[in-house]
Structure formats: structure tokens, C-alpha cells
């Protein structure tokens, strides 16, 4: 038997995994449920109403791509890094993703080096060292452990 709440929970979870923002998921879930209510009131069976409403709303990948346009460059980088990290944990990292992540880490290191060169404050120094040391270590550690 079709379980609407279970289907919506799965859809929400997929969206949350991609965009990671609870307010976005809550807003879109309200839209989805409102659309389903209207369709059912028009006589559309519940399972079909769910399918139609999800199609109208668009795929979670497309939705995330639209929200991506609202993010700053740093937010986009972090978002992709998080996605890459999630893929590593699932063991599904493609070659290009490894290259992409390596480029991000390299950029972080260069930026940190520039900050360090110009910096005379302790706080910026600590932040920069954290970026240089912690970011690659974090990625490496998760990658190594995910292979075991």
C-alpha cells in the first residue's frame, strides 16, 4: 500500500542530502504536500498525485543546481567538497572528483600561504595553519578509513 509520508520522507532526505538546508527542504515539502492535496481533491489517486507533484517540482539535482546560483564562490566550493566527501564515504569517487578535490586543497594552501605572508596577527596565522594542515589531513584520513 502506498505510504505518502514514507515517500515524502525519502524525497526530503534525498533533497537534504544534496542541499543540506532544513529551511529549503521544509519549504519545498510544504509545496509538494500542497500540490498533492490539490491533485487528490481533483480526483487524482494518491500515488499518482505524488509522482506528478514531484515531477512538477523538478529533480533534486536540478533544484540544488538552482540554489547553487545563490551561493557565493566559497559556499559553492565547500558544498562540492562536502559532496565529494560524501562520495568518498560511499566509495563511489570518480577520478575527476579526486582531481577536483585536490585542486580545492591546493587553492586553500596557496590562499593560506598568501595570508601567512601578509599576516602579522596570531589569529590569521592560526587560521591559516589550520587550513594548511587540517583540511588535507581531514580529507586524507576519511579517504583512508573509508577504504577499510
Amino acid at each position: 500500500m502506498f505510504d505518502l509520508d514514507r515517500e515524502i520522507a525519502a524525497w526530503s532526505s534525498s533533497l537534504a542530502h544534496r542541499c543540506g538546508r532544513a529551511d529549503v527542504v521544509a519549504e519545498l515539502e510544504d509545496h509538494l504536500r500542497t500540490d498533492i492535496d490539490h491533485l487528490v481533491a481533483e480526483g487524482v489517486p494518491l500515488d499518482r498525485a505524488f509522482e506528478l507533484a514531484v515531477t512538477r517540482l523538478g529533480s533534486t539535482a536540478n533544484l540544488d543546481a538552482e540554489y547553487e546560483k545563490n551561493r557565493s564562490v566559497v559556499q559553492r566550493l565547500l558544498s562540492r567538497l562536502a559532496r565529494w566527501d560524501a562520495m568518498v564515504m560511499k566509495g563511489g569517487v570518480a577520478g575527476h572528483s579526486v582531481i577536483f578535490a585536490s585542486v580545492i586543497v591546493a587553492i586553500a594552501i596557496i590562499l593560506a600561504a598568501i595570508i601567512l605572508a601578509d599576516s602579522d596577527t596570531v589569529i590569521t596565522d592560526v587560521a591559516s595553519y589550520l587550513i594548511i594542515v587540517a583540511a588535507p589531513l581531514w580529507l586524507l584520513t576519511r579517504r583512508v578509513f573509508s577504504r577499510r
Partner: protein, 124 residues
């Protein structure tokens, strides 16, 4: 500006994707100038106002609303909708009202130019 596009009926593209994108913000401002509203209702109003000819891909509206909010033209609050569900309501801010007036003038000017051209009162 925007990644909004007609979605449901590819057979009724009265408005091009580019036109829909360019008109999204002024339409949202104009709808919100009548009072606060929420995503689903905004989409429904646009469909109704255009006699069903302008169809927005439902999910594409929300990033636009968030973008307009980030720019300070609109603001949102969480309230309660149908069946006690959490619902995000949007309302127009002064800056959005000014933007609406400015865009309305631009569209009117464009319309006047096109009509003059159509009436043969200007050299092409």
C-alpha cells in the same frame, strides 16, 4: 537573470524561456504588492493571470525568491499553512516596491516602443 522555465506543457510555449526569466522578478513583486503570499500561491496566480500560458517550473521559483530576499527586495517569515504545516510567507519590502515601479516603467517604455514601431510611426 533567472533559471526559471516553463515546465509542464512544452506544447504551449507562448512565452520563451528568456522572457519568462526576465519577467519573473517584476511578476513576483507585483503579486506581493497585493499582500504576503507563498510559493505555491504565487505560481498559481501567475498561471491564472496568463490564462495558463505562462507555466513556471515549480521548484525554480524558490531559489528566485531567496535571491530577491538576499537582495533585500522581499522578506519572509514562517507561519502555519493548510493542515497546520509550516509555511514560508513572503512580503514586499520598500526596496522591492521601488524596484517594481522602476521595472514597470521599463516594461511600459518597451511596450510603447514596440507599439510605435508596429504603428509605423518610427523608422526601423
Amino acid at each position: 537573470m533567472l533559471g526559471i522555465a516553463e515546465a509542464e506543457s512544452p506544447s504551449a510555449p507562448t512565452f520563451s524561456k528568456e522572457f519568462v526569466a526576465a519577467s519573473a522578478a517584476p511578476l513576483i513583486f507585483a503579486i506581493l504588492s497585493h499582500g504576503e503570499s507563498y510559493g505555491y500561491e504565487i505560481i498559481r496566480q501567475v498561471r491564472e493571470l496568463s490564462d495558463g500560458e505562462m507555466r513556471w517550473a515549480d521548484g525554480m521559483l524558490y531559489p528566485i525568491l531567496h535571491r530577491l530576499e538576499k537582495r533585500g527586495h522581499i522578506e519572509s517569515t514562517w507561519g502555519t499553512g493548510d493542515g497546520g504545516r509550516k509555511r514560508r510567507y513572503y512580503r514586499l519590502r520598500q526596496s522591492g516596491l521601488e524596484e517594481l515601479q522602476s521595472q514597470r516603467r521599463s516594461w511600459q517604455r518597451m511596450n510603447a516602443m514596440l507599439e510605435r514601431l508596429e504603428g509605423g510611426r518610427a523608422h526601423v
